[in-house]
């Protein structure tokens, strides 16, 4: 048994046309059927509102409006169709400060370019199987910036509010 990816839709927002096409081909090869593509963030948000995709994959650096601006709109615009949608941000940046900047805007996953198909699959898998809870503290709305680490060796009682109690 494998994922029925043809039931889910993806929005790709990437201004470099060959990269957008390549990303679309990778997603089709994975099994996604409905892949919408925009080459700027403004059009990306329009397509987002029109199709309400289940996953967004956006580039960071684009024309006037960046991928981070798009994430802000998706997360905070009162008219946003789905503020909780998982967003994977693609970028060539990998410096810690840049990653933190993206995380502070509400990005779900970070995909550093150049990437392999395996890298992209790992991020999609994370979005499907281990979505983070959302935090709203007034200044920030998005996936919890702290990724929960499971300490395998610990076998004592679970006391945190979000422990499952298993």
């Amino acid at each position: 048994m494998s994922y029925t990816l043809d039931r889910a839709s993806v929005l790709v927002v990437e201004d470099m046309v060959p990269m957008a096409m390549l990303t679309k081909r990778i997603l089709h090869t994975f099994g996604f059927k409905d892949v919408y593509v925009a080459h700027d963030a403004e059009t990306g948000f329009e397509l987002f509102q029109k199709h309400a995709p289940d996953l967004v994959i956006a580039d960071w650096i684009m024309g006037d409006m960046s991928g981070l601006d798009l994430v802000k709109l998706i997360r905070r615009d009162p008219l946003s169709k789905n503020s909780y949608v998982p967003v994977i941000l693609m970028t060539g940046f990998s410096h810690k400060l840049r990653v933190m900047q993206a995380r502070d805007i509400g990005v779900s996953e970070f995909l550093v370019k150049p990437f392999t198909a395996k890298d992209m699959y790992a991020r999609i898998l994370q979005a499907i199987e281990k979505p983070r809870q959302f935090v709203d503290n007034g200044d920030f709305f998005g996936p919890d910036r702290r990724r929960k680490r499971v300490v395998q060796a610990y076998d004592g009682p679970m006391r945190r509010y979000d422990d499952t109690g298993e």
Partner: protein, 155 residues
């Protein structure tokens, strides 16, 4: 502070089981065989970097630094994806320096100029792979310059 666990519509739609390995391997082939006229993007980057030679260190060029960073980042990001791993390797080194540099000084300018010249050489001679003639020399020279910069300014 409010926490919420929104419904996972993606999971609900796709179910369980992952993506079969064969599909992931096929997708790797899609990337390996991706064709784009990337040399035109390299030439554009060289053109955009031409302004570096006109920079005066007396000017406040902090904003421009971000522009150059974006050019280098784009080359690093897309080179390998479109068959130019050498471009990615070079750009990675320069990006590391640009990401930490606190002052746009003469050493930084030298690195950018050397980077621009390297890109031009790669585009003119269609040097694609790391094992192309002269490729290692270019990478080693630029790596050494970047290393010296990071050492000199104690990063």
């Amino acid at each position: 502070m409010k926490y919420s666990n929104p419904p996972n519509s993606l999971k609900e739609k796709v179910g369980s089981g992952g993506i079969p390995v064969e599909r992931i391997e096929r997708a790797e082939t899609v990337i390996a065989e991706s064709k784009a006229e990337f040399s035109t993007y390299i030439q554009q980057a060289v053109k955009d970097l031409e302004q570096v030679s006109q920079i005066s260190l007396e000017d406040d060029i902090w904003a421009e630094r971000e522009d150059y960073t974006k050019i280098v980042m784009s080359m690093k990001a897309h080179g390998k994806m479109f068959g130019y791993p050498l471009v990615t390797a070079l750009s990675y080194e320069v990006l590391q320096v640009l990401d930490v540099c606190e002052k746009f000084n003469a050493d930084m300018l030298d690195i950018l100029l050397a980077y621009k010249q390297s890109l031009k050489l790669i585009a003119d001679n269609k040097m694609v792979q790391m094992n192309a003639d002269g490729a290692k020399d270019i990478v080693n020279a630029l790596c050494a310059a970047c290393g010296r910069y990071l050492q000199k300014y104690s990063f």
